[in-house]
Amino acid sequence: MKIIDATLEHDVKFANKMEKVRADFPILKLNVNGKPLVYLDSAASSQMAQPVIDRLVHYQTSQHANVHRGVHYLSEIATSEYESARQKLQRFVNAGEDREIIFTSGTTDAINLVMHGYGRKFIKADDEIILTTLEHHSNIVPWQMLAEETGAKIRVVPINDAGELLVDEYEKLFNHRTKFVGLIHVSNALGTINPVKQMIALAHKHGVPVLVDGAQATPHMKVDVQDLDCDFYVFSAHKMYGPTGVGMLYGKAKLLESMQPFKGGGEMIASVTFEKTTYNTIPHKFEAGTPPIAAAIGFGAAVDYMLGIGIEEIHTREMELLNYATELISELPGVNVIGTAPSKTSVLSFVIDGIHPHDIGTLLNQEGIAVRTGHHCAQPVMQRFKIPATSRASFAFYNNRSDVDAFIAGIHTVQKFLS
């Protein structure tokens, strides 16, 4: 009699599917220092699948011209492909309208846009901006620059030992001077997924708009900006299997319309005389100059690629790898995982007793293993845990158990070598 274990069969099918997906990424076939590449740095920048590379080549070989205004064939097709990428992104985050999607050069650029466009117009001396300990420097420094310029103040939400935001403390920070909240959706240093929906609702109770930095969220989970009810949501293509040099800002249309432009130039105007310039409507008001057309189209292709695999499948695969790696690394003596929130993305930040992260990084590289070492542009997080730096392995759906095994073996080697 043949007994079929349905769960097992499903698991095998799933593993096979993901191995096929892995084969889409040509760079993963590289050898580094004579060893097969084990790429565990996708949280810094992810790799690109062949269909996305092909899309870029197709655009560049048969569709490229400058967008808008042109009346010739190539300009029309480039414009329509560029605008269709905007619509793909709109659907990806479920924005109400495509004019609420603004292409930027990345997450940092998008945050700076909001700081200049909204912050400099509406935030004044003694107003307060709430940020969290988990923020990436890109969601700290622009607001510090604004505070310096205007005399506004920055208040910071603390975290607990697991690396989770203290929502009660967050709530206590609000007062009549609170004018803005900047909130990271997923911590890049620790992987913590923050309760942003709840925190946005709390801010809105006080009439305060919220910007969510989603750079580490959109590669891993379904994001619905209308459901979150965030006022601004920003992220980058290159962490979601797309090209560098492009990212986007979602903003509620009403807010975007009330804001002043960030950069001046072509495309963002309706009419220009030396006496007066009238600005274009959104989104063009915020897209001065020739946009990153090819990259934006690649962004759209990357999103299509992700949806083709399925966000649920991506999540399942990454959690499987994270749990497997966490289990194995926890058995190693002298290794401590930093960031132990129950709700995490596939980021494993760790320290090893007596061994500096940079030595770990260099020696793992010797085994062909790419991890990130340092403060991860999140020095306040490092200060909170009283460490200068961590090593961070981050897993994407194209990694597999062999990658995790090689990583754990690599840690063994490092410990033996440097003890």
């Binding site: 030595d359 020095q379 730096a389 440097l418």
Partner: protein, 160 residues
């Protein structure tokens, strides 16, 4: 370049048992060096007597390469004249950035165990940080920003 050939036994030994580790009481020269890349910092204190390094100590948070470089540096510069130390600083920096031909006469001696660092550009700063900080300590009148401009690898070291 095999990274393991950089982590030679002498370097590993100085990392495990750093020499002259700590702070000097009543040091007449002192500086703190920072590696902004990783947030590491190194604190160097020394006593110059008659233009000669009489005593020197270091402490701080750093990787094996940086710690071993600092440890070996303190053993080598102790007893040397200020001029000789400046020559060593210069030669060490040039070696780490691949500008020094080790076949030509130099004064680095066993410090040449660090010559492999030039093959690992991301780690050059780790090896140079102690030397840069020593330079800042010896020239305590110089500002940190001038240091930055002059440094081939844009390392920041500030006087405290």
């Amino acid at each position: 370049m095999n990274a393991k050939s950089l982590y030679q036994e002498v370097i590993l030994d100085h990392n495990r048992k750093p020499r002259n580790y700590g702070a000097l009481d009543n040091a007449n020269h002192h500086a703190v060096g920072h590696n902004p890349l990783c947030g590491d910092h190194l604190d160097i204190s020394l006593n110059l007597e008659n233009n000669q390094v009489d005593s020197i100590a270091f402490q701080g948070e750093s990787c094996a390469i940086c710690k071993a470089s600092a440890s070996m540096m303190t053993t080598v510069v102790k007893g040397k004249s200020r001029n000789d130390v400046e020559i060593l600083i210069h030669e060490f920096r040039d070696m780490a950035t691949g500008k020094l031909d080790l076949d030509n006469p130099h004064h680095l001696g066993r410090l040449t165990v660090f010559s492999g660092i030039q093959e690992l550009p991301t780690r050059v700063k780790c090896a140079i940080l102690p030397w840069h900080t020593l330079h800042a300590a010896l020239n305590s009148e110089e500002s940190a920003s001038t240091e930055n401009e002059n440094d081939p690898v844009h390392m920041s070291a500030g006087n405290r």
